[in-house]
């Protein structure tokens, strides 16, 4: 049960764990509501256009964004302390996995609840979109729950895996990862410019239906979690 200490470590900074995400999320929602009120005052056409355009509203990342950093912080800041206090890597991994699962469950539930209210009230009476957007899923509420859960969990494990790889392999990992990603970007760009049908095929791939997309996110998350678990067993403190 010593893994509970790992969970304790993650909630020591209560403002960071429980305070800032809802505060920043609420401020972001208020801003979107203000925009909705201003644009809505221009008439029904403007309101309809805004509703359509806000499908791509990224304001929800005010809530999702800190999650991206959370994975990095867990491995970068809590891992050395955990080992310093005599926890095993297995105990640390168990504790962090529970923290990640808890975060994904709570935030996906909050976002889904927000979406249900948003849809039921016609965008809080202002035809705005904050929770019911592309990134969280514009389908039924259960899809939003699944999508945000997988997205948050995947991102958390990805951040932890990247930091674990950095701790394990040091600066060369960053250089090699950067070079590989750059080459991939150049290869895709070259494919679009030089190969007939490549761009169209890529667009079809990117606009595939919800189910395959969830499978992709789940695979990325599972692979990240697997790599992280593999690396954390061999990671040494510096």
């Amino acid at each position: 049960m010593r893994y509970r200490s790992v969970i304790d470590m993650h909630v020591v900074n209560r403002m960071q764990a429980f305070g800032w995400p809802p505060v920043v999320g609420a401020l972001s929602l208020l801003l979107v509501l203000a925009i909705g009120a201003i644009v809505g005052s221009q008439g029904p056409d403007a309101r309809a256009g805004m509703y359509e355009g806000m499908t791509w509203n990224g304001a929800i990342f005010a809530v999702l964004g800190p999650m991206i950093g959370y994975g990095f912080t867990s491995m970068g800041q809590y891992f050395p302390l955990a080992l310093g206090l005599g926890l095993t890597r297995r105990e640390f991994a168990t504790g962090v996995s529970l923290v990640f699962l808890g975060n994904a469950a709570v935030y996906s539930a909050v976002i889904t609840f927000g979406k249900i209210i948003e849809v039921a009230t016609g965008g809080f009476g202002l035809q705005i979109r904050f929770f019911d957007v592309f990134y969280t899923g514009t389908g039924p509420a259960w899809q939003t729950l699944v999508q945000t859960f997988l997205l948050i969990l995947g991102v958390l494990f990805l951040g932890a895996a990247i930091t674990a790889a950095y701790l394990r392999f040091g600066q060369p990992f960053l250089w090699i990862a950067g070079a590989v990603l750059s080459m991939l970007a150049v290869a895709i760009l070259a494919g679009i410019v030089l190969l007939d049908g490549f761009g169209r095929g890529l667009l079809e791939l990117l606009t595939m239906s919800w189910g395959p997309w969830m499978a992709v996110i789940a695979v990325i998350g599972a692979a990240s979690a697997g790599i992280w678990l593999l690396l954390v067993r061999r990671t040494q403190t510096r």
């Binding site: 310093g84 005599g86 926890l87 040494q236």
Partner: protein
């Protein structure tokens, strides 16, 4: 019983051997000094024994078991390292609260007393503590944990003389009341010489000395007088150090049987060599021998 045992323990960082074939047996219930220059391998050895880094080869046992990923051993082991990193926003009270949940023999009362004695601002973020206050966090954790094996790696960096004395006094008092194995790495050898029962000197990742502290404190004498007489007296003795200033000289030699008496008979002044000076001389000798070989 042996608290710590290593056999041919080796740790390489790329082509550098931080620990090179170390064989050690540290008895339970004693205060061991782990001494050596910066980079001698003290911290690496402690990190190996607490499973923070992995050995390249060799064996190690702590409290009779392999320590790596062994919760039963690590729950009875406390490692206070001077370079311990703490997460942003953590305060001393947060660290101590979490530690309390991890060490079964944690003494909350002792922790409270020590916080007061070290005047530690427990609600101030650790990032804003002075170096000495940061050291106090480690010392309080190490003492209050009452772990059967406690490693202190340079625990008092930045502490003033009063606080250092407080640490030694508290360690001695608590050790007398709750005997356990303490492995203390330090550069302030003379300050802890009365505390140490056994000494391990590392140099270049190898064990140079593995002996009782009492034995080492009587291991050498310092003779001084006219340079010519000192040189003549030293002769073929096992010389540790010779310093000449003008017509006078001082030499540190191993205290073989009757050597002190012979020095006095030769009209030389004789003084004991402190543990710190002995360690310095032995380290320098080891360095010279290594240089001569290479």
């Amino acid at each position: 019983m042996t608290a710590v045992q290593t056999r041919s323990l080796t740790k390489h960082f790329r082509d550098v051997a931080a620990i090179d074939g170390v064989d050690l047996d540290l008895d339970e219930g004693r205060v061991h000094g782990l001494l050596g220059r910066n980079g001698a391998g003290k911290t690496t050895l402690m990190k190996l024994l607490t499973g923070q880094v992995f050995a390249t080869s060799g064996q190690m046992r702590v409290l009779g078991e392999a320590p790596v990923e062994n919760a039963s051993v690590l729950a009875r082991t406390c490692f206070i390292q001077e370079s311990q990193k703490y997460p942003d926003g953590f305060r001393p009270r947060d660290v101590l609260r979490i530690a309390e949940g991890l060490y079964p023999a944690w003494d909350r009362e002792l922790a409270r007393e020590l916080i007061g004695e070290f005047r530690l601002p427990e609600k101030r973020p650790i990032a804003k503590l002075s170096r000495g206050q940061l050291s106090a966090v480690g010392i309080i954790l190490g003492l209050a944990s009452r772990a059967p094996v406690t490693f202190f790696d340079e625990p008092y960096l930045g502490l003033d003389a009063v606080a250092r004395r407080l640490f030694f006094d508290r360690l001695l008092a608590d050790f007398a009341e709750h005997p356990r194995t303490v492995i203390l790495s330090t550069h302030h050898i003379d300050e802890v010489s009365n505390l140490l029962e056994h000494v391990v000197l590392l140099d270049g990742g190898r064990v140079v000395i593995d002996a009782e502290a009492e034995e080492l404190q009587a291991a050498a004498i310092e003779v001084s007088g006219r340079a010519e007489e000192v040189r003549e007296f030293v002769g073929d003795a096992d010389l540790l150090h010779l310093q000449e200033i003008g017509a006078l000289a001082t030499a540190a030699v191993h205290a073989d049987r009757g050597r002190a008496e012979r020095a006095r008979a030769a009209g030389l002044q004789v003084a004991p060599v402190s543990l710190q000076n002995y360690i310095v001389h032995r380290t320098n000798t080891a360095v010279e021998q290594t240089a001569a070989i290479s």
